[in-house]
């Protein structure tokens, strides 16, 4: 998939700032996306129901209602990918949005390349709903059927928890995973924020086994204060 192919996917932008809407409209249209706009929460929810977008870009700071409420209302009936736009300092908002059903986030001010990458990943995850048995990320191969991991052709030994964590990250490649999502999917059951150090320990172990230099990770990237993202290598 190249950067120029939006493939006519329909994107709904919900943002009250005309400048941001204009920017997104011009650039995304240039990348062959079909753009629809809404300048407030209610209008956004309405548009989402009649336009049936393939993806929604939602600003969390709206004048008429909170972006979180918009997110919740849309999630009641639709699983369309939603990417939220937030201000920098609000880690807790980002986490709440991601745990509340948003697929990814972009922090304002953002680079266009970053937003496009997030959009592409989100659209791809919808398209490939059928799980492929073997995941390849450059030198890293994960065989889900046989629970095998290979790096540069040689077998990597992982503990069951390490493997589950890697599998969860890799099957969501390119998408940010919050600490809570990872704890739930790998460890199951109920978890508290104080459990996040388990996650850090296992991420550390995975990096030691997979990365040449754990301080310059190629595969598992840390999203400060949020969680982790498996880099999709493209």
């Amino acid at each position: 998939m190249t950067i120029h192919s939006g493939g006519g996917a329909r994107i709904l932008i919900i943002d009250d700032e005309p400048q941001i809407r204009k920017l997104l409209k011009v650039t995304l249209q240039a990348h062959r996306f079909d753009i629809h706009e809404a300048e407030a929460g209610e209008a956004g929810i309405y548009q989402a129901s009649i336009v049936h977008p393939d993806l929604i870009v939602l600003d969390l700071g709206l004048p008429d209602m909170s972006g979180m409420d918009v997110l919740r209302r849309i999630r009641e009936w639709s699983s369309v990918p939603i990417i939220v736009l937030t201000a920098k300092e609000r880690e807790e908002d980002k986490i709440a949005a991601l745990d509340g059903g948003a697929d990814d986030y972009v922090t304002k001010p953002f680079g266009m390349g970053e937003l496009l990458a997030r959009i592409r990943v989100a659209l791809r995850h919808v398209a490939s709903s059928v799980q492929e048995p073997v995941l390849r990320f450059g030198p890293l191969v994960i065989d889900l059927a046989q629970r095998l991991v290979e790096l540069d052709g040689s077998r990597v030994k992982l503990t069951p928890t390490e493997y589950d964590l890697l599998k969860t990250l890799a099957t969501n490649a390119g998408k940010v995973m919050t600490q809570r999502q990872l704890l739930q999917q790998v460890w199951g059951g109920h978890h508290y924020e104080s459990d996040s150090h388990y996650l850090r320990i296992y991420i550390g172990h995975l990096r030691k086994k997979l990365e040449e230099d754990p301080t310059r990770p190629r595969f598992i990237e840390t999203e400060p204060g949020i969680g982790y993202r498996f880099l999709s290598q493209d």
Partner: protein, 522 residues
């Protein structure tokens, strides 16, 4: 009860005197000194002197009278009768009485003087103690509490101090332990107000309002009146202790003057502090204005210039030129973004809105984030990581600490030349995680190693390089909020070394063990 004790107190000396003289008379009769009357009369002077020294003038006169009667009755012929044969003895009695009276008076006065001397020494001591304490105290509350305690102990009295509040209304602001209920009464406050307005002493033992139980002394310096010191004697026992003698009043006035001076000193130093603070905030405001206007205008100028150039002269630029102008716009905007971030960070720190969201931090993880963030500016500088295997997890706000590291590493990049080396080393040292960032850049003067953490301060060697002088101040705020320290020093050779030490916490052993319990099976 009190009446009885008062009574008991007054008859005890007289009973004792009677007893002593009886005993003396008995001894004199027993040991046959009965006929040497001159010696006897001299011996009878002892009880008089004794009672003068111990009980004062009245008991000693009583002693003299009883002595004369005993002498007359037992030793002057006719013995065992008050009548006198030889009238010359009457003259002897007279001389005896005169000598007794004279010595008794002298002894009693001596005793009185001794008492006064002792008291005045005590007063001097307490004044001295108070004045010494006062020079050391810089806080008004402590000062007044001290005055209350000291005066209360010296005079055995209840103390209340009134000072005007913000609305210039006199209020009770300090009192000795027992005086709470007394000092709050309406009449007390009314008198205190009068004294405060008039600047005159009033109450018991003074010329004004002498029917009230307390004495009210204005706390007065030459320029103004700061408040009122009220004193009420504690009424216990056989007498009213600490009644207001002239001596005590003088002492109180001295206390008043001393307290007033001390209050004046505290107030002046408070005002001086405030003035200093205002001057400082003025300086910071000016610096902020200078820095922000410069730091905002420069990138704005490049952004506006490039953008208008592109719009107006669309055709004359080659695609290469166009890309360059667009890159200029991006860089200018990024620079403004950094400034805004720093300003917001500073405001957060200053307003106390900074809240740490502490989690277990893995320094390796954090370094990964930092390196990814500085990658854009790094160009060809090599960043070397020295990470000790032993470095534990520690508790901290990873997002904020990453911001600190990004700031420090960005500085290292900014102030060093391309192709130079930057070293980040992490070690555990005495219960702290110590991170050092060393560059081979322009370096820092030893004298500036603390100043560079001040708001808006920029090192003398940074001259042409843009910056606000906020980054390190924010770093310092964040690190200190974690209970850690940050310092700078010239690096060996050239360049700067920034050292950050963060407390490691103590749960780490449990965490490390827990991580090795699984078998590798996959």
């Amino acid at each position: 009860m009190r009446d009885f004790r008062l009574h008991a107190g007054s008859w005890v000396p007289y009973a004792l005197i009677t007893l002593i003289i009886t005993l003396l008379t008995y001894l004199l009769i027993q040991f046959g000194l009965g006929y040497d009357r001159v010696n006897i009369v001299l011996l009878y002077l002892f009880p008089v002197l004794f009672s003068a020294v111990y009980w004062g003038i009245r008991p000693s006169f009583y002693a003299a009278a009883v002595s004369v009667l005993a002498f007359d009755f037992f030793f002057i012929p006719p013995v065992l009768s008050f009548s006198v044969d030889d009238f010359r003895y009457l003259f002897s009695f007279f001389v005896y009485m005169a000598v007794a009276a004279l010595t008794a008076t002298l002894a009693a006065r001596l005793k009185q003087q001794l008492l006064l001397a002792k008291q005045s020494e005590q007063h001097t001591n307490s004044l001295y103690a108070l004045s010494r304490q006062m020079t050391a105290i810089s806080d008004l509350r402590t000062l007044l509490d001290n005055v209350c305690r000291q005066v209360s102990e010296t005079l055995d009295a209840e103390i209340a101090i009134y000072m005007p509040d913000r609305t210039d209304e006199l209020a009770l602001i300090a009192y000795s332990q027992t005086a709470e209920s007394w000092g709050r009464g309406e009449s007390e406050i009314a008198i205190a107000k009068w004294v405060y307005r008039q600047g005159q002493i009033a109450g018991k033992g003074s010329g004004m309002l002498r029917d009230f139980p307390g004495l009210y002394v204005p706390l007065k310096t030459e320029e103004r009146i700061y408040g009122v010191l009220a004193v009420k004697p504690i009424e216990t026992g056989l007498e009213i202790k600490g009644s207001f003698t002239a001596e005590n009043r003088r002492l109180l006035e001295a206390f008043g003057g001393l307290t007033a001076t001390a209050i004046a000193r505290v107030k002046l130093s408070e005002e001086a502090k405030l003035a200093h603070l205002m001057a400082e905030s003025e300086r910071i405001r000016t610096a902020l204005l200078d820095s922000v206007s410069h730091e905002l205008r420069t990138p704005l100028a490049t952004v506006i210039g490039s953008a208008t150039g592109l719009i107006e002269g669309e055709r004359i630029f080659s695609s290469e030129d166009r890309l360059e102008l667009l890159a200029t716009i991006r860089d200018g905007a990024l620079r403004m973004n950094r400034l805004v971030t720093n300003l917001l960070g500073m405001v957060k720190l200053e307003s106390g809105m900074l809240q740490l969201r502490k989690r277990w931090c893995d320094i390796e993880d954090m370094l990964g984030v930092v390196l990814a963030q500085v990658k854009e500016y790094q160009q060809h500088r090599r960043i070397r990581i020295g990470l000790s295997e032993r470095v534990p997890f520690f508790e901290g706000d990873d997002v904020l600490l990453e911001q600190v590291l990004v700031n420090v590493v960005s500085n290292a990049i900014k102030y060093s030349s391309d192709y130079s080396e930057i070293e980040i080393a992490v070690n555990e040292f005495e219960g702290s995680v110590v991170i050092t960032v060393t560059d081979a850049g322009i370096g820092i003067a030893e004298s500036e190693s603390e100043l560079i953490f001040d708001k808006f301060y920029r090192g003398s060697r940074t001259g042409h390089l843009p910056g606000t002088g906020l980054g390190l101040a924010i770093c310092k705020g964040i690190v200190e909020a974690h209970g850690g320290t940050i310092s700078a020093e010239p690096a060996a050779g050239k360049g700067t070394r920034i050292r950050i030490a963060l407390p490691a916490g103590d749960r780490r052993h449990g965490i490390e063990r827990l991580s090795d319990t699984e078998e590798e099976v996959t």
